[in-house]
Structures are given as C-alpha cells and as structure tokens.
Symmetry: C2
DNA sequence: TTATTTGCAAAAACTTTGCTGATAA
DNA sequence: TTATCAGCAAAGTTTTTGCAAATAA
C-alpha cells in the first residue's frame, strides 16, 4: 500500500486482509475477533487505530451507517449500502440499481454540498418473511 | 398527543416543546440542557427515554446521521438532511430540492427494501469559506 | 387504583488516549 | 536511526437499565 506515512506492519496487513476477505462490513469488534485468530496478542485498540488510519488514507471505507457501531468496508470506491432493520446486517447496493441525483444542487439550505450518503433499509434474505 | 400508551407527563411535554421550538436537530444532551432550564430536576435518562419513546410513536424523528451522537427532529414527516462536515450541524433539505427515485426497486441484493435514508454532506454557511 | 414514568445511580457499550517498549524503512 | 506503531490499561463518551417513589388517567 504505502499510502501517506503508513508503515505496513504485520498487524495492519492482517487487518486489511481480513477486512478484504469478507463482504459483511464488519464492525471493529467483529474484525478484532477474526484478526485475533491469526494474531492472538493483538489488541482491540490496534484494530480501532488501524481502521481509522486506513479509512483516512482512503484504503478502506468507514461506513457511517445507522445503528450503534460503525462498520468498515474493504472497498473504498463510493457505493451505497442497504441495512437490515431486523438484524443490522449491511450489504452493498449494486452500483447500477439506483439513479441518484446526477445533478445534485451545489447549494442546499446555504450549505455548500460536497456529497451525499444514501443508505437503504429493509429486511435481509434471512429476516424477510414473505 | 396521546399516542400509543404514552401518558402526557410534564417532562414529556416540555421535552417535546423544546424540541419543536428549534430547527437545530439537537442531540439528547443538547435538549437536556434546554429542558433543564425549565425543569431543573429532570434527569438525562428521562430525556433519553422520552426521545426514544416519542420516536417510536412517530411523534418525532430520530435521525441516524453520521457522527457520534444521534440527533432528533420535532418534525416526523419524512425529509432529508444535510450535515456540515466541519462542525456537525444538521439542517433540513427543502423537500423539493432533490429527486430521489420514487420507484425504488422492491428488492436489492436479496433484501426487501422498505425505505432509504439520504444524508447530504457539505459545509454550512458558517464553515464554508468561498 | 394501577400501569407508566421519574430521578438517581450504576452499568453497559463503544471508542479514544497515554505511555513505554518494539519495529519498519 | 528514528518516526511510527503496538500492546496494555485506563479513561472518555454516549446510551441503557434497575429500582423505589411518584403520578397520570
């Protein structure tokens, strides 16, 4: 990677690998659990710090979803998510599904608009009953 | 109000009034500060509990915005928000500004789609520099 | 009268931080 | 060699909960 001033430590490497190995948008704690299987001595603080740094560097994505804990995505490209109202699970929205404002106004309510965050909500395959 | 099984206690009344008196989308703690000026003995727990109950009843809106603390809106009608990346301030997006697809697909990635949350981000009038 | 609600205090849940020894480059 | 990083432990921040007394209906 070598982004910014980031050193590629073993821990950082493993965290990144584990995050990229799943599409479940894990929380810091989820990831801690996985990483710990490979690095039993790693601390939760290291996981938090690395996720934060990697997100700042644009290597990964920090999802500011609804719900208690933040979730992380190994794919830093801009894309939307859908969250299960029942179990909290998060999935990617295929990028061709929706058409967001192609012409987002440059100003809204006096704000200079820089972007937007679109999060769908619904019931995941396991939780939907129909 | 008399929604659900909710009793209209004095505290609940004041919390609701204070929330409706502003358009700043206050956090529970913000509101606690305002309410406390009228009810010095009220506890933060009461504010949290009431906001939760009022949101469940659909009387107010609980915004699951990005950022640390949740914010509340006295207006329960569906509308979008814009958040300042600098100071965290939240404002309403006038409802005619954007055109979200009214024909949201009923299914995305196997999920049954029930709704969506759209949050713009940018710089508020005080924080923008241009 | 009684199911809700309150205040208080404590706990829980999640995240950040200070410090010291370790290490990638 | 040295700026960055790790582990540990402690603290910080936000939210939730248990309980006994108070109260709206």
């Amino acid at each position: 990677l070598q982004v910014n001033k980031l050193r590629m430590t073993h821990q950082r490497q493993v965290i990144l690998e584990e995050l990229r190995a799943v599409t479940s948008h894990p929380t810091a704690d989820n990831l801690f659990g996985k990483v710990r299987q490979r690095l039993p001595k790693i601390s939760l603080a290291t996981v938090y710090r690395n996720l934060e740094l990697l997100a700042e560097s644009g290597v990964i994505l920090k999802l500011e979803t609804s719900g208690r804990q933040k979730r992380f995505d190994g794919n830093p490209r801009r894309h939307d998510h859908i969250r299960c109202l029942q179990c909290g699970r998060v999935a990617d929205v295929p990028m061709d599904v929706i058409g967001m404002p192609d012409e987002t106004p440059p100003d809204i309510a006096g704000f200079k608009v820089l972007g937007y965050r679109l999060e769908f909500e619904g019931l995941c395959p396991d939780c939907r009953d129909d």
